[in-house]
Symmetry: C2
Subunit: 317 residues, 2 copies
């Protein structure tokens, strides 16, 4: 095809080294049980299910499904792609005209928690890795624990101060739960998470609380959390995390678990009502207090509809 020549050669001489690339598929599986958001991990909480893309895989998604099922025996429902990154230099050696390099493609999956087989397979509380992201019971953790350490990095730089304040909702800036990834990256840059020291970043003080993970898996988890928090607001995906029927409070607890924030009960219900995604069942939830009506998601929701609308001030003709 003449297109290929035009495409490859314009402006420079082509290299002849053929590069061998190793593609790794990584799965972040999230479930919410009660009020705890969890991820499925291997190696006692230090890594996610992962494995190389193989010839037998029909697609990237199929590959992810295969690896997760092989390693955890957990069935997989909804999944979506998160991010792809290349390991900057690791193993970039040349042998003959072959060079080795690694690319990681990460996926986010939503399911319901099931006791999974495998010795080291386990569901871990997401906030074990990011204690500062859970502001439901104690929104002052950042103030109390890591603000001082961050202050050391900020020093007298107004620009750094502005960045920290915007990211962590300090000093008048509002807290934005979607910025989970930015916060993790900033902490890494500051050298306050253990991974930074492990990777040879300079260390600017005491490490802050939060469990470490293999390679950059914790960063991938932060990506997943950010994506999920953002998406839950404009797409009906909590659906994937809930049982067939549930009470409104259960649904609220699920969203709160992901957002890391308490929600206003009646306003949350009003929002649900306006979205018209739920329908009543004939049943009621047992338990203390007045029994709650049970709801289910409407089938019509299958048409992957956005639940919020535009923010642009559109003109009518």
């Amino acid at each position: 095809m003449s297109y290929d020549n035009a495409k490859r050669d314009s402006g420079s001489v082509m290299k002849t080294v053929i590069q061998t690339i190793h593609a790794e598929l990584i799965a972040v599986l999230v479930a919410v049980t009660g009020s705890v958001p969890r991820v499925l991990t291997l190696a006692d909480g230090s890594a996610f299910p992962a494995g190389p893309l193989e010839l037998t895989h029909r697609s990237l998604q199929a590959g992810v499904r295969a690896w997760v099922e092989r390693q955890t025996h957990h069935p997989l429902g909804y999944i979506e792609q998160l991010y792809t990154f290349a390991d900057p230099t690791r193993g970039a050696t040349v042998a003959g005209d072959q060079a080795e390099r690694s690319i990681s493609i990460s996926y986010l999956g939503l399911t319901r928690e099931i006791a999974s087989g495998g010795d080291t397979v386990s569901w871990q509380n997401i906030y074990r890795y990011f204690p500062w992201e859970d502001r439901r019971s104690d929104p002052t953790l950042i103030e109390r624990t890591i603000r001082a350490e961050m202050g050391r990095w900020v020093g007298t730089s107004a620009e750094r101060a502005a960045r920290v304040n915007a990211c962590f909702g300090l000093d008048g800036s509002p807290w934005n739960e979607d910025l989970a990834l930015s916060r993790y990256e900033l902490l890494y840059e500051m050298g306050l998470v253990r991974e930074a020291a492990r990777d040879g970043q300079s260390n600017n003080g005491e490490f802050i609380p939060g469990a470490m993970m293999h390679a950059d898996h914790r960063r991938i988890l932060a990506t997943a959390l950010s994506r999920l928090r953002a998406k839950i607001k404009y797409r009906a995906i909590v659906y994937e995390l809930m049982p067939e029927s549930f009470s409104l409070l259960e649904l609220q607890r699920c969203v709160e678990a992901l957002a890391g924030q308490r929600l206003h009960k009646s306003n949350f219900r009003r929002l649900l009502a306006s979205q018209n995604l739920l329908e009543e069942t004939a049943h009621y939830a047992p338990g203390v207090g007045r029994p709650a009506k049970l709801f289910r998601f409407r089938a019509a929701l299958l048409a992957e509809r956005a639940i919020a609308g535009t923010r642009l001030p559109i003109a009518r003709p």
Copy 2:
């Protein structure tokens, strides 16, 4: 590392074939000039700048920058990753213990249009590929041209009808500009775009208007358009597309070009005012009519802030 064994071997026997993967980097460069949104193309509008990931590339992003500059001599500003996909079977042959496979990683870049070198390098109107996405002058194009063809595919299926209506804003459903990708994919599934026939999909009628592209580049462009339309609403990225200073009407035209919709002038200005992202300059734009004040973006905007807030009804303590 003991982690690696636990990770790879749980539940199945490991394959020994080493897979050679070819990673292709693809760049969708967008600029808006006047009221026309454009993409930078090669091969007379049929493909995007692209090339394999090489050893000399420090990162995926660096690789994209290198290829774009090599092929188009166009400087590159802001870029972000779009999507990664694996070519399902093409070239999946095995030679010895080596197998060949291709992965494409696409990027979206925002710039200002510059006359670019290279014979076949050109800026193309995005709506050349998706005429139905531009509803500024004529929102009835879908009704007039492609609705009948889609109707043939829908037949008597209520589910198909619901899908088409939700996607294309027909029959009472509101038009949602963010669904550009879903619309393209649906048209492909219906066999109404030329790529579908080329790829061996069954054809359900006449092809609809819109230029074809190499491989799945048109699908990638649809991804870029969807992403850009969605992102422009909650992130201050138009910034990258505008000159140093500009009038409010110019900014409005730029957003309209991307959204494919007319905006309400005074409400758009009120929105801008509330976001506080702009500041006045001392200058005025020349031209017919009363001269417009020129604005520029505030420097403080560097702190990559979200411009919209949460949609969740948060509870205060």
